[in-house]
Structures are given as C-alpha cells and as structure tokens.
C-alpha cells in the first residue's frame, strides 16, 4: 500500500513539470510579453526594458524557467499584482472557503443522492424511480450559474431567508484562526460566527451540489439495480438474514463502490474552484478569485493558483484510489 502511494506521488513529478512548462510558456507567449501585461499597453519602451531587466526577463529562457521552477518548489509564486500580497498567502486565505463550500456541497449531494438512488432502484418502475431519474437528468442539464442565480434571486433577494453573498456577514467581528470560517467559529466558541458562516454556505453549496447530486443518484440507482440481482444477495436472503443486514452489508456495500469513485472525482473538481457559483455569490473562494485574476490580468496569481490546484487535484485522486482499495479487497494492492 505504502509503495503504491509513493509510486503515485512520484507520478506527480512529470505532471507538475509538464504543467509548469505550459504555464511558463503561456506567460512568455503573451502579446508583448509579461512586461506589457504588467505595465499596460501604453508603457514606454524604456519602462519595458527596465521592467525586463529588474525581473530578469532579458536572460535566456531556460535560466528564467529554472529560476521560476526553483521558486515554485519553495511555494514562491511572486506577488499578486492586484492585492500586493504573496500569491501563496492569497491562496491559503481563499482555499479554505472553497474547501468549506465543497464539503457542504458534497455532504448535501451524498446525503440525499445515495438514499434517493437506493430508493429509486428498490422501487424500480414506480413514481419515485421515474421522478428521480427525470430530476437527476434536469440536475445535470440545468447550467449551474443559472441555478445559482435563481437561488440567489429567490431565497436571498426576494425572500431574504438566507444570505446571498460573501462567506460571512461583514459586520460579524469573528476571529479567524484557520480561515475555515465555520471551523474558526467552533474553535473560538463564537457560535454565532460559525452559524453565520454556515448560513452563507447553504445557497452556493446547494447550487454547487446539484450536479454531483444528480450524478450520484443515477450511479447509485444503476449500481443497486445491478447488485440486487447478484447471486450473493440471493445467498444472503437464503441465509434468512434481517432485511437491514442484507441491505447494508450485501447490497449497499457493493453498490457503493462505483459511487465512491464518482464522489472522489466530483470532490476533486469542486475543490479546484467553482468559478461560476462562487462568482454569482461573490463567495471569495478560489473560484471567484481566479475569475477576478483573469479579468485583472493577475498572471502571477493565476500561475500559482493553477499549479497548486493541480497538486490538490492529483492528491484527491490518489485519495480516491487508496480508499477504493480499502473498500474493495479485490483491488487492494499488496
């Protein structure tokens, strides 16, 4: 198992190298180069030359690349041109918000998706089944930004039930230890702060969770339909086991194997930034930051965020593979 993990971690190296080359090349390929990007199109040639000299952009490309790589290894991606803070600091302020949002969205999707998918399969052909199939089809086809916008308009603006922007009420004087606002509130015993942060997660979380929810319902349903016809379920019934034991140990345990893979992949996707949803709710996580960085041409920030998110994505996938091995003894690596 350990060997498997180490091997997978080593696979990270070529992936990150490739990505770093891509990002590096992308910055140099900008019209006019990074200097114009930073100084604007009306910068004088003298200023551009000055800029290039200061940042070492007049040196050979490979020296530049090696320097970029060396800094990246020390998690130094330079400073954001809009906030003036180190890109890495910026990331670790923003990322916890995205993590909280992802956790909320996935808990919502899993908590409803698995029971619903199971029920649909067991009541195969009933109205519950057809409703959930149609519902999940709607869930994957409705564009997420539209849904997010609708939610905000209805529940935040019109009805005023829930907050519709940000991560926490700005008037809330909360102490932030980890930048996970809900967790911070719990740690510092500022219950109202935690509750407020949680309320801010509800609308974007549900909007973000609809696609994973729809996918989980469909996969759970299909998988349960497969498994209930397996011989071992009949064996379990022939043993006269309680319905609950048959359901949990013999049906769900096997039916959830493909679902767990989906959950992992979806989590990875959400973690790398829900640009649309976060933007609608001005959430201030990784996603909305990325969008702002694009519109303000904050290349240093983009470069750093993309590289770190790639690492996160690969690590989440590794976690999925490892947990799959734990769930299914047949693929367990010796």
């Amino acid at each position: 198992m350990l060997r498997f993990i180490v091997r997978r971690l080593l696979q990270l190296i070529p992936i990150l190298l490739g990505l770093s080359i891509l990002l590096f090349a992308w910055l140099r390929a900008l019209p006019g180069g990074p200097a114009v990007a930073a100084l604007g199109e009306r910068a004088t040639p003298a200023k551009i030359a000055e800029y290039n000299r200061v940042f070492g952009l007049d040196e050979p490309l490979w020296t530049q690349y090696l320097r970029f790589l060396g800094r990246a290894l020390r998690l130094d991606f330079g400073t954001s041109q809009t906030t003036g803070r180190a890109v890495t600091d910026e990331f670790f302020t923003r990322f916890p918000g995205t993590v909280e949002l992802t956790v909320f969205a996935m808990v919502f999707a899993i908590g409803i998706g698995i029971p619903l998918g199971y029920l649909a399969a067991r009541k195969h052909g009933s109205w519950i089944d057809s409703t959930s199939v149609i519902g999940s089809l709607l869930g994957v086809t409705i564009p997420v930004f539209f849904l997010a916008y609708l939610f905000r308009l209805l529940f935040a603006v019109q009805l005023g039930w829930l907050p519709g922007s940000g991560r926490q009420d700005v008037r809330m004087e909360a102490t932030h230890v980890t930048n996970f606002y809900v967790l911070d509130g719990l740690l510092t015993r500022e219950w109202d702060a935690a509750w407020d942060a949680l309320q801010h997660l509800i609308l974007p979380g549900i909007a973000l969770g609809t696609i994973p929810l729809a996918i989980i319902v469909r996969i759970t349903r299909a998988s349960v339909l497969d498994v209930v016809n397996e011989d071992y379920v009949r064996t379990a019934q022939a043993k006269g086991l309680a319905n609950d034991t048959v359901r949990r140990r013999h049906i769900l345990r096997n039916a959830l194997l493909p679902v767990s893979t989906t959950i992992g992949l979806q989590t990875g996707l959400l973690l790398s930034g829900a640009v649309l949803t976060e933007t609608v709710f001005a959430f201030g996580g990784v996603g909305s930051t990325l969008r702002e960085a694009i519109s303000t041409r904050d290349y240093a920030l983009l470069q750093g965020f993309i590289l770190i998110l790639a690492v996160v994505y690969v690590l989440v996938n590794l976690l999925v593979d490892v947990s799959y091995g734990l769930l299914d003894p047949r693929v367990r690596v010796k």
């Binding site: 397996e230 011989d231 071992y232 009949r234 064996t235 379990a236 019934q237 022939a238 043993k239 006269g240 086991l241 309680a242 319905n243 034991t245 140990r249 013999h250 345990r253 096997n254 194997l257 769930l327 299914d328 003894p329 047949r330």
Partner: protein, 353 residues
Amino acid sequence: MTSAMTSAMAGAVPVLEVEELAVTFTRRGEASTRAVDGVSFAVAPGETIGLVGESGCGKSVTSLAVMGLLPRRGVEVSGSVRLDGEELLGASDRTLRKLRGADMAMVFQDPLSSLNPTVTIGTQVTEVLYEHRHMAKKDAVAEATDLLDRVGIPDPARRLGEYPHQLSGGMRQRALIAMALACSPRLLIADEPTTALDVTIQAQILELLRELVLGSGTALVMITHDLGVVAGLCDRVHVMYAGKIIETADRHDLFARPRQPYTGGLLASVPRLDAGRGTPLTPIRGSARDAIPWAEGCAFAPRCDNAEDDCLTEVSGSTVPLEYDGPGRELRCRHPLQYPPAAAGATASGVPR
C-alpha cells in the same frame, strides 16, 4: 395422493412435502410462462432425492419456490410446500426469514458469484450464527472456525479473515456449505453444487455432502443435470421435463430400467469410457425449446422416438397423467420403454424400442 405415497415409501415423517407446486411468471405484454407445473414430492429425514432435468425444466425454480426466494412481482406460486408440517406458501416474510438459514438452507451453483466479494468469509459465516443462534462474538468465531474445519477447509482460523477471491473454487463451495450447515438445518437444497467445479473437486464436495447428510439426518434435495451425481448420491430421483415430474424411481431402478423415453435418452447421452474411440455421442434430438404445452399433449412428444398420436391431448382427450408404475415408481408416459421380463439391466446403448 402422490406425495402421500412417496412419503410412505420413505418410511418416516417427511421433512419437506411439496404438493401440486406451480409457478407462473407473468410479464406485462407477454404471455405468461408456467415454469413449474404441478410438482409433488417429499423428502424424509436423512434421505437424498434428486431433481434431474436439463436447463429450463423448472428444477431451480422449484427450489427457489420452496425457499421462498422467488421475486414477489410477476410471479404466481400455488400449491403447497410444508416444512415439518408447516405451510410455507403464503407465510409471512418474517416467518420465512426465521426458517431460512436455520431450518432450511441452500447451496448454490456458482460459489464465486454466490459469495459477497467485499466481505470476509468469517463475517459471511458468523452472520448466520448471529442471526439465528444469537451467539456472542467470541462463540460465533469459534463456531465458524469449527464449521470451516468440518467442511474440510485447512487452516480455518486464517481463512476466516480472507475474502472469497483468495480461496480456490473448491474451498469457496466448502465455505458456502459451511454457511448452509451453520444452524444444522433439517432441509438442505443443493442447486447444482458441483457444476462450476473441477471433476476431482466435484467428487470431494459430493462426498462431503453425503457425510453431512448421513451424519445429521438432514433431508437433502439435490438439483442437478448430472446423472453421475445422481448415481453417487441420491436415494430417489425425480426426472423433470418442462415443469412437470415425468418419472420417479429409486436410483437403482432408474439406471437399470428407465421407463420414460426422456430418461432413457438422458442415460444414453452420457459419454461412456468403454465406447469405441470415435463413437459419436447419442444426444436427445431437438432441444428443450421444442416442448409443447402439457395441455396439448406430452411436452416431450416432439422429441420422442416412441411418440404416437395418442401422446397428444387432442387425440387421447386427456393430459398425460403421472401414474403408478410398479413399487416406488411413477411414470408420466403412454408409450414407455419396455423391457423383456428377464432384463439384465438396460445399458445406455441398449435402450429397446
């Protein structure tokens, strides 16, 4: 009538009595299929009966109906199934769950697919003990070790922690048998328990089943298409065709003097070691799909060499009945195979016309 007779034959109160069992599958928009059609038999304690027939003859459906394992929707079961006198058809789910695994158990055909791949053998054995014998964990583990040992699994304590894919085919079937026997059931149904196994393993598993039945007085219903299994294990044999029993006989009588042409054909189709090299096999012509509904005549008639016009209902005016055919024998045939009075035992190739 028939079941009363068979149980009297066995000379003891039967464990299982099946009377006029019929199973019909219906699907919306399709004609319904009668998979089992008026089957009656009984099994006494310590007795082994064989239900023999080719694929699709209704033998597995019969066993699932006895266990109450047929799906509820689209299936209609009628007749009577009594376990130690208790009627099982129409019994509540709860009652059936209490009986299954405890008083009646089943061993299935494919041991790999019949075991849950993600749960250890130990859990799959002990869950029966928890459910029916309400054992404490320590006792259940000790009992499971003992069970695996009894069915001949070496190093049972270690095997408890392993998963089905880590066991060989023979060991998996042994583990399934151990689970079935965990509560010393009165009735054991084995549905082609050796079909998926190597020949050498088959013999071991059959031997194991025989020992277990002899030792405990369990009634055993052996479902098989393999006449070798019948010869080695069964006391009485019921040959099924298209959902009905067409011949019932003592094992020795059946092999010596098959009366139904279908039984004769089954015996004749067994490959023989003493046949000359290159001798073609003697199959029964046609396939089970050629059967006609019993209402129109003998279902086997289209494939039967002995068939005559009166095998068809429209000529004879009645369905072919299952009738007394000598001591311990019953037969559903109007033109059975005949034997000269001093028959020295029919061999497969010597089936007379």
